[in-house]
């Protein structure tokens, strides 16, 4: 008897193949997971960045849902406008509005617009695919770039270990807006992404989901290692997977055996300079402190 596969045929997804994302791209996996979980009754607003540029080269499109891209910094505002129309039509509960932006669009250039949308309380899920830099323009650092990462604007050199700034705490910023739902997830754990999208879309109001998405060329990893790197980030404590409902920590992804941060760092070229000099060991230790702090803060073990 033929078994019913749990895998969808390629064209049954709402993000179709034929896009130009890199092999192993975390962002495109996240997009597909989010849209499949949200379903056809969804309108997407998208920031400029890899998620837009790999999917919609005129006159083609990878999307099977209504989708709009305007600028780098305004997907949240477009979503507010769309949400206003749905409110007026009494369709707010029938149609999902999802705004999608990279970490640059979210942590940096579009932050004010996101804050405005959250304050207004619009019924929109904002999804940030966090690949920790402006990857589309050639791997420049953003507010989401972690400490000591080499990027093209925070290059490692004889006098520098890369980015001198710690990652901006976007989750705390989201929580400060009193959102009913704030969570992190990663493409390393796809079922968790699907689960969170479905759960959050059932909640009315503004929602924030930040999905950790390795970038193959930007991080200098093998295409086959996207999931592995994601899991190492989670299991080292470097990228905590948490879920807040009405401001309270409701769920967290616990770690059975903590991986040393070093294991996460050493398979990525963006951190390779840390292993090349004696001073680098100190810097690795600083990153370990961040991971240990996260584990303690959220009680991940």
């Amino acid at each position: 008897m033929p078994q019913k596969s749990k895998y969808k045929a390629p064209l049954a997804h709402l993000v179709n193949p034929g896009h130009s994302a890199c092999a192993g791209c975390g962002m495109i996996i996240a997009s597909r997971l989010v849209l499949d979980a949200a379903g056809k009754n969804t309108i997407v607003t998208n920031a400029t960045g890899c998620s837009e540029v790999t999917t919609t080269q005129y006159p083609m499109t990878a999307f099977k849902i209504p989708w709009i891209h305007s600028l780098f910094e305004n997907p949240a505002s477009l979503a507010s406008g769309i949400s206003a129309v749905l409110r007026k039509r009494g369709q707010e509960d029938k149609i999902n509005v999802i705004a999608i932006g990279g970490d640059g669009a979210t942590f940096d250039i579009g932050l004010g617009n996101i804050s405005g949308m959250w304050e207004r309380g619009d019924n929109v899920l904002y999804v940030c695919y966090d690949n920790e830099a402006y990857q589309n323009t050639g791997y420049q650092s953003s507010g989401a770039t972690p400490l000591n990462a080499h990027t093209t604007t925070t290059p490692a050199g004889t006098k520098s270990f890369g980015s001198q700034l710690p990652k901006k705490n976007m989750i705390e910023i989201a929580l400060a807006h009193n959102l009913p739902y704030v969570a992190t997830a990663t493409v390393g754990y796809p079922l968790d992404v699907i689960d969170k999208v479905k759960k959050t879309l059932a909640i009315k109001g503004p929602k924030y989901l930040q999905i950790y998405c390795p970038c193959v060329p930007g991080w200098g990893i093998e295409p086959k290692d996207t999931v592995k790197v994601s899991k190492l980030a989670v299991n080292s404590g470097f990228y905590p997977i948490v879920e807040f409902i009405n401001g309270q920590l409701a769920r967290k992804m616990t770690i059975s055996k903590q991986e040393p941060v070093e294991n996460f760092l050493k398979i990525q070229k963006r951190f390779k300079h840390l292993f090349a000099s004696p001073g680098g060991q100190k810097e690795i230790a600083r990153l370990q402190v961040i991971a240990d702090y996260n584990i303690k803060k959220f009680g991940l073990i």
Partner: protein, 376 residues
């Protein structure tokens, strides 16, 4: 006919036009318009969603999102607000979203200055928006009704400009057209392409060199040919509302050798001067340019056929060259031997007096400069 403030007249007209989403951010001298729209909503007299925005950049992006859903929208701004919208203005035009925006014209910083000139709007000349300038509040209200009709017909955004304070804060009689009458001219909006879960479309794809050029060319061609549609709509407007609108208006002596060209409320002052000079047997023509985009080259060439000395008054300057309208007039008249002098006046709310206009009339023949910055 009502006697009311310009801003109130615009707000009531907009409400009667019936946008579904209004979003704005306050800036002097636009404030009264968006306050009045908020109050109409608060008093249950309006049907639109009023979305408070955290910046002008957000305000226009919010109405952009709503416009992509296929609804009529409205926003208004001035000066720094318009400049902050720049990136979105270009985007909206490229996306062919029919939108209407009011700009209460004001000087731009630095130095910061809240008073009227037209530097804000003219700086957006190349954004792909149709750009119209009203002389008085009746014309401004009429241009708004026309703007929605043209925008929706051609999938082009329209910016209606009026001089900040000079018009926005001035109380004068205005015919506020009723929703029923407006509907006769401006029927329900039937959008061509919308965001719809039943028929999913992609908006805002990127275009490679293989396609970008033709898409921009199409926008250009459509702006050029919009003149025909605008003029035919002006005819219908006249039939329903009884008032004649034009891309330009010529006033005064048809055979005058000296013609003064300008946009906006200063035209009123120039017309007064023309009337006065006429009494002394002096001939002067006045050319009001309502539409900076599309720019009605042919009509302007015809209107200036008898003119020998043309003074173009701009309340703006392309720093280092001349007034922006002056450049446009020179371009339209290229190859002609007429004398064109650019007079940059009224920057940052400086009064343009009748005496100054008379000075232009009496001095232009002997004026040997191409550009005169005339503050006094």
């Amino acid at each position: 006919m009502k006697i009311l403030e310009g801003s109130r007249a615009i707000a009531e007209t907009i409400n009667n036009i019936g946008p579904e989403v209004v979003s704005a951010y306050p800036i002097t001298p636009q404030t009264h318009i968006v306050e009045d729209l908020a109050k109409l909503k608060a008093d249950g007299l309006a049907d639109y969603e009023y979305v408070r925005a955290e910046s002008e950049f957000a305000a226009i992006s919010i109405v952009e999102g709503a416009a992509a859903m296929g609804v009529r929208t409205y926003t208004a701004t001035s000066s720094q607000g318009l400049l902050l919208m720049t990136e979105v203005l270009f985007n909206v035009a490229g996306m062919r979203l029919p939108m209407v925006l009011t700009c209460a014209n004001r000087a731009v910083s630095a130095p910061i200055n809240i008073w009227n000139d037209q530097q804000d709007a003219v700086t957006m000349r190349d954004s792909g928006w149709l750009m119209w300038f009203g002389e008085d509040n009746q014309e401004v209200c009429d241009l708004h009704i026309l703007a929605y009709k043209v925008a929706e017909k051609l999938a082009l955004p329209v910016m209606v400009n009026l001089d900040g304070f000079v018009l926005t804060h001035v109380v004068e009689p205005v015919e506020i057209e009723s929703p029923a009458k407006i509907k006769k001219f401006l029927p329900r909006y039937k959008p061509q392409a919308v965001l719809d879960v039943k028929k999913p479309l992609t908006f805002g794809a990127f275009a490679t060199p293989a396609h970008y050029f033709e898409i921009r060319q199409e926008l250009h061609d459509d702006i050029v040919s919009s003149q025909k549609v605008i003029k035919s709509e002006m005819k219908k407007f006249k039939e329903i509302f009884g008032r004649q609108l034009g891309l330009i208006e010529y006033y005064g002596d048809k055979n005058a050798e000296i013609v003064i060209v300008a946009m906006g409320s200063v035209i009123g002052t120039i017309k007064d001067v023309a009337d006065k000079l006429k009494k002394f047997g002096k001939k002067i023509g006045v050319l009001k340019v309502v539409s900076l985009r599309p720019f009605p080259d042919e009509e302007i060439i015809k209107a200036l056929i008898k003119a020998k000395n043309i003074a173009v008054i701009d309340k703006s300057v392309s720093l280092g060259t001349e007034g922006i309208l002056a450049t446009e007039i020179r371009r339209a008249l290229y190859g002609d031997k007429k004398k064109v002098v650019s007079y940059v006046m009224g920057l940052g709310g400086r009064d343009i007096t009748e005496k100054m206009i008379e000075g232009i009339y009496s001095g232009i023949k002997k004026e040997n400069k191409k550009v005169v910055l005339a503050g006094k």
